[in-house]
C-alpha cells in the first residue's frame, strides 16, 4: 500500500477498487473516484512547487526555481498511493464494524475494549438525550440554547453514570483476572487464509528488502530491470491484495448457485 513502485501501485489500486466495487457497488465507487481525481491532481501539482529535485528541468517558477519531471512523477505516485489508501479504506469501512474493532483491541487490552464498547453505547445515548432535552425545553415554551442543553446533559450523564457504575460493581467489575468474551471463532479456513497472506507478505517483504524491484525518483527516475525475481514479487503482491476479492467473489458465486438450484 505504501510502496511507490508504479506497478505495485497499480496492482494495489486495482485490488482495492475491485473489492470496494464488490462491497459497495458501482455508485459509491464512482462517487469516490470523482472526489479522488481532483485530489490526486492537486497532490501531483503541489509537489513540484516545493520539491525541486530532479535532473530533467521542464520549466522555471517565477522565483527562478526549476520544475522537474521527476518531482511531477513523484507527485503523481504519491497521489496514486493516496488514492489507493482511500479506496482501501472505503472497502474496510464496509467490512470493519465497531465490534470487530472492539474485539481486535480486546485481544491485547481488555480494558480498552470495554471502554470502546461503553463509549459506543454512551455517545449515541448522549445524542438522543440531547434531543429529548431540546424537546423538553421547547415544550416548556422556550428556545433551547446550546449552553443550557449541554449543562442539563452533563448533569444527566453524571447522575446516571452512578447507576451504571453500581451496575458494574454489582456484576463484579474490578475483580482480578478479567476476561474478554467475543463472538469470533478461528476456523480452519481462517488458518489457511492467514497462512496464505503471511506467506505472500513474506515473499513481498523479502523481495523488497533484496531490492529486486528497486525504484528511485531522484535525482533521475530509475527502475530495476524486470527479472524473474521481480515478477515473483509483483505476482505475490497481487496474490496478497486479491485475497479479499477472492473470498467475496466466492461467497457471491456460491450464493447465486444455491439460489438458482432451488
Amino acid at each position: 500500500m505504501f510502496i511507490l513502485h508504479p506497478v505495485m501501485l497499480v496492482i494495489s489500486f486495482v485490488c482495492a477498487g475491485v473489492y470496494a466495487f464488490l462491497l459497495r457497488g458501482v455508485r459509491v465507487l464512482m462517487r469516490g473516484l470523482v472526489l479522488l481525481l481532483p485530489m490526486m491532481l492537486v497532490a501531483a501539482a503541489m509537489n513540484p512547487l516545493f520539491n525541486h529535485r530532479g535532473v530533467t528541468i521542464l520549466t522555471y517558477l517565477p522565483n527562478g526555481n526549476p520544475v522537474t519531471l521527476e518531482a511531477v512523477l513523484y507527485g503523481l505516485a504519491v497521489a496514486g498511493m493516496l488514492a489507493t489508501v482511500i479506496t482501501w479504506f472505503v472497502a474496510v469501512n464496509a467490512v470493519m464494524t465497531a465490534d470487530k474493532i472492539v474485539f481486535l483491541f480486546g485481544r491485547f487490552w481488555p480494558a480498552l475494549s470495554l471502554l470502546l464498547s461503553m463509549s459506543l453505547r454512551f455517545v449515541p445515548r448522549m445524542i438522543r438525550q440531547g434531543r429529548v432535552i431540546v424537546v423538553a425545553q421547547k415544550g416548556l415554551g422556550r428556545k433551547p440554547n446550546a449552553l443550557k442543553v449541554i449543562s442539563i446533559l452533563m448533569t444527566w450523564a453524571l447522575e446516571n453514570s452512578i447507576e451504571t457504575a453500581n451496575s458494574m460493581t454489582a456484576r463484579g467489575y474490578g475483580l482480578r483476572r478479567r476476561t474478554a468474551f467475543h463472538l469470533y471463532k478461528f476456523h480452519r479456513r481462517d488458518v489457511f487464509a492467514l497462512g496464505w497472506m503471511i506467506t505472500m507478505a513474506l515473499v513481498v517483504g523479502v523481495g523488497v528488502a533484496l531490492g529486486v524491484n528497486r525504484y528511485r525518483f531522484f535525482p533521475s527516475v530509475q527502475f530495476h530491470a524486470l527479472s524473474g525475481a521481480s515478477v515473483i514479487v509483483f505476482v505475490s503482491y497481487f496474490a496478497l491484495g486479491a485475497v479479499p476479492i477472492i473470498l467475496r467473489a466466492k461467497e457471491v458465486l456460491v450464493w447465486k448457485r444455491i439460489n438458482s438450484a432451488m
Binding site: V135, I152, T164
Partner: protein, 535 residues
C-alpha cells in the same frame, strides 16, 4: 436453608437524625419470592440495597445481616458479585455495553470465566429468556421492556442464588411490565432462585409472592403471605391500601363478614357476587355514564392529522382528529407505538404535520416523559427560581405541587413522584393555559399518583385545559373527564370517561372488569366501595 437472616437491623443515613430502618427482623428462605412494598421514603429501597454490599447505601448499620448463615460483611467480593444478583430500576442506566451479547457476558468477564464457558452460559440464558433473536443487536435498538429483560438475563447468567430487584418495572409500560414479572416468576419456579423485589405495581406481583413485607417509616408494619399481609395492613389501618390490588383494596374498605381477602380479579369477582348491592346506587352510577354534552368550548382541536418522520417511512399518524375542551382533563390512551408521543409533539407545534390542521386557543405547553430533561440547578428551589423570581407565584406553585419538603434537595435525589411534581411545578410557572403531559405516572407510586390526581383536578377546576397521554388505565379512569383511545395512528374512540371504560370489555380498569356483572358503569375502586357502603 435461609438465604438471608436479618436481626435487629437499624440503619441511619449520614447527617440524618431519624432512622431510615429500625429493628428489622426477617428471614428469607431459599426459593422464596419476597415482595417489599411501602410508600416512597418508607425505607424499602434502603432495606433492599443493604442486601447487596456492592450497592448498599452509606450510613450507620447496627444489627446483623446473615447470608446463608454467615455474616454478609465477611463474604468474599467474588461471591458477592456472583451469588447476589442485582437489577435496578432504569433499564438504560444499568446496561453497560453497546451489544446485547457483550452485556450478557459482562458479569462473567468480570469473574474471569474463560471465553468457551461464557459462550455456553450466555447461550443458555438467551434461550431461557427467549432473547436469542436479539443476541447480536445494538442495545440502543431495544425497547424498554427488552432492555430490562436483558438486564435481568445478564445478572442471571452469573447463576446467582438470590436476585434483588429495585422497582424493576417502574419505567416499563404495563405490557412489558407483565412480561418482566412473568420471566421473573419463571426464574423463581423453574430454578428455585430466591427473589426479593420492591415494587409499587402490586396488582400482578402480589399473587405470586410467598412473602410480603410492608414497610412504613422504616418499620415492617405487616408481613407474611399476601393474604396475611393484607389483613395485617387492615388492622393497622394503613393508608398504603391504595397501592394494593383493586379487589383487596375494595375488600379492606367494606368487608365486615370475615370473608377471605380476594387478591386476584377472579377471586374479586367471586367475592363481589356474594355482596349485596343497592339497586339505587347501581342506577346512580349507570345514569352518570349517560352524560354526554359538556358546557365547555374546545381549547385544542386536531383535525385530520397525517404525519410521518421520513419521506419513505410509514405514516405514524393516519388522519387523527382529536379535541380537548377548556377546563377539562382529556386522556389519550394507547399501547406502545400507537403514536401517542408524536401526537403530543404535533399538538405542541414542535413538528409540523404533512396534512391536517392544529388549532389552539392559547399557547400549548408540553411536559415530556423524562422530567430529568428539565432540571438545571442543584436544588429544586433554584431550579424553580430559574423560571420566575416572583415570590408569590413561587410560593403558590410550591404549595400546589407539595414541594415544601424537598426544596433544598437535588432534583435527581427525589423519588419518581417528587421529580414529576417538581417538573410540573416548573412548567406551571410558565403560566400555561393548555398543558399536555406525556406519561406523567411513569415511575410514580400509588400514593403520589393520588396526590398528582388531586393537583391536576384542581388545575382543571381553575380553568386549565389538560391533555394526558398515558398507558396507565387506572390513573386515567380516576383523573380524566374524557378519554380517547389511540390505535394504529388514529383515534378509534373518544368519549366521556365513564362511558369510555364501561363500554370496553378488555381495555378497561380492573374495577370495571371486577364489577362488570353487577355494576356495569363502575370504573374505579371508589365507585364499587361507594355502592357497597350504601347497603
Amino acid at each position: 436453608m435461609e438465604t438471608y437472616q436479618l436481626r435487629d437491623v437499624t440503619f441511619t443515613y449520614p447527617k440524618r437524625n431519624h432512622r431510615a430502618l429500625s429493628n428489622i427482623n426477617l428471614t428469607i428462605r431459599q426459593g422464596d419470592f419476597v415482595v417489599l412494598c411501602g410508600a416512597s421514603g418508607s425505607g424499602k429501597t434502603t432495606l433492599l440495597r443493604l442486601l447487596k454490599p456492592a450497592v448498599a447505601p452509606h450510613g450507620t448499620l447496627t444489627g446483623n445481616i446473615l447470608f446463608e448463615r454467615a455474616p454478609l460483611d465477611d463474604m468474599p467480593l467474588r461471591d458477592v458479585a456472583s451469588k447476589i444478583g442485582f437489577v435496578a430500576q432504569s433499564p438504560d442506566d444499568q446496561i453497560v455495553t453497546d451489544k446485547v451479547w457483550h452485556e450478557l457476558a459482562f458479569g462473567l468477564e468480570s469473574l474471569g470465566v474463560p471465553s468457551t464457558d461464557i459462550r455456553l452460559r450466555v447461550a443458555e440464558m438467551a434461550n431461557f429468556f427467549g432473547i436469542q433473536s436479539l443476541f447480536r443487536r445494538d442495545v440502543a435498538t431495544l425497547s424498554g421492556g427488552q432492555k430490562q429483560l436483558l438486564a435481568l438475563a445478564s445478572v442471571c447468567v452469573m447463576q446467582p442464588s438470590v436476585l434483588i430487584l429495585d422497582e424493576p418495572t417502574a419505567q416499563l409500560d404495563p405490557i412489558a411490565a407483565g412480561d418482566f414479572i412473568t420471566a421473573l416468576s419463571k426464574m423463581n419456579r423453574e430454578t428455585g432462585m430466591t427473589i426479593v423485589l420492591t415494587e409499587h405495581r402490586l396488582e400482578e406481583v402480589l399473587p405470586l409472592a410467598a412473602q410480603v413485607l410492608v414497610l412504613d417509616a422504616g418499620r415492617i408494619i405487616a408481613s407474611g403471605s399476601p393474604r396475611e399481609a393484607v389483613m395485617g395492613l387492615r388492622e393497622v389501618e394503613s393508608t398504603f391500601f391504595c397501592a394494593m390490588p383493586t379487589p383487596a383494596h375494595i375488600w379492606a374498605a367494606v368487608d365486615s363478614c370475615g370473608c377471605e381477602c380476594p387478591l386476584t380479579l377472579r377471586e374479586g369477582i367471586n367475592w363481589l357476587a356474594v355482596q349485596r348491592i343497592s339497586p339505587q346506587q347501581s342506577q346512580a352510577i349507570n345514569s352518570s355514564a349517560q352524560i354526554q354534552s359538556s358546557k365547555y368550548s374546545f381549547a385544542l382541536t386536531l383535525k385530520d392529522i397525517w404525519f410521518k418522520y421520513e419521506k419513505n417511512a410509514p405514516d405514524v399518524l393516519k388522519g387523527v382528529s382529536f379535541t380537548a375542551r377548556h377546563s377539562e382533563i382529556t386522556a389519550i390512551l394507547g399501547g406502545n407505538g400507537a403514536g401517542k408521543s408524536t401526537l403530543l409533539s404535533v399538538a405542541t407545534g414542535l413538528i409540523k404535520p404533512q396534512r391536517g390542521k392544529v388549532s389552539a386557543t392559547h399557547a400549548v405547553r408540553l411536559l415530556t416523559q423524562n422530567p430529568q430533561a428539565l432540571f438545571l440547578r442543584n436544588t429544586v428551589a433554584d431550579d424553580l427560581r430559574e423560571i420566575t423570581s416572583d415570590a408569590n407565584e413561587l410560593a403558590r406553585t410550591i404549595g400546589l405541587c407539595e414541594l415544601e419538603a424537598v426544596l433544598e434537595s437535588h432534583p435527581y435525589d427525589l423519588s419518581g413522584g417528587e421529580q414529576q411534581r417538581a417538573a410540573l411545578a416548573k412548567i406551571l410557572l410558565t403560566q400555561p393555559k393548555i398543558l399536555l403531559l406525556d406519561e406523567p405516572t411513569k415511575g410514580v407510586d400509588a400514593h403520589y399518583k393520588q396526590s398528582f390526581i388531586k393537583i391536576l383536578r384542581r388545575l382543571a377546576s381553575e380553568g386549565m385545559t389538560i391533555v394526558i397521554v398515558s398507558h396507565d388505565i387506572e390513573f386515567c379512569a380516576e383523573c380524566a373527564d374524557n378519554c380517547a383511545l389511540l390505535f394504529d395512528g388514529d383515534v378509534v374512540a373518544q368519549s366521556n370517561t365513564r362511558a369510555f371504560f364501561a363500554g370496553n370489555r378488555f381495555y378497561t380498569t380492573a374495577a370495571n372488569r371486577m364489577a362488570r356483572g353487577i355494576l356495569p358503569a363502575a370504573i374505579t375502586a371508589d365507585d364499587i366501595i361507594e355502592a357497597l357502603h350504601e347497603v
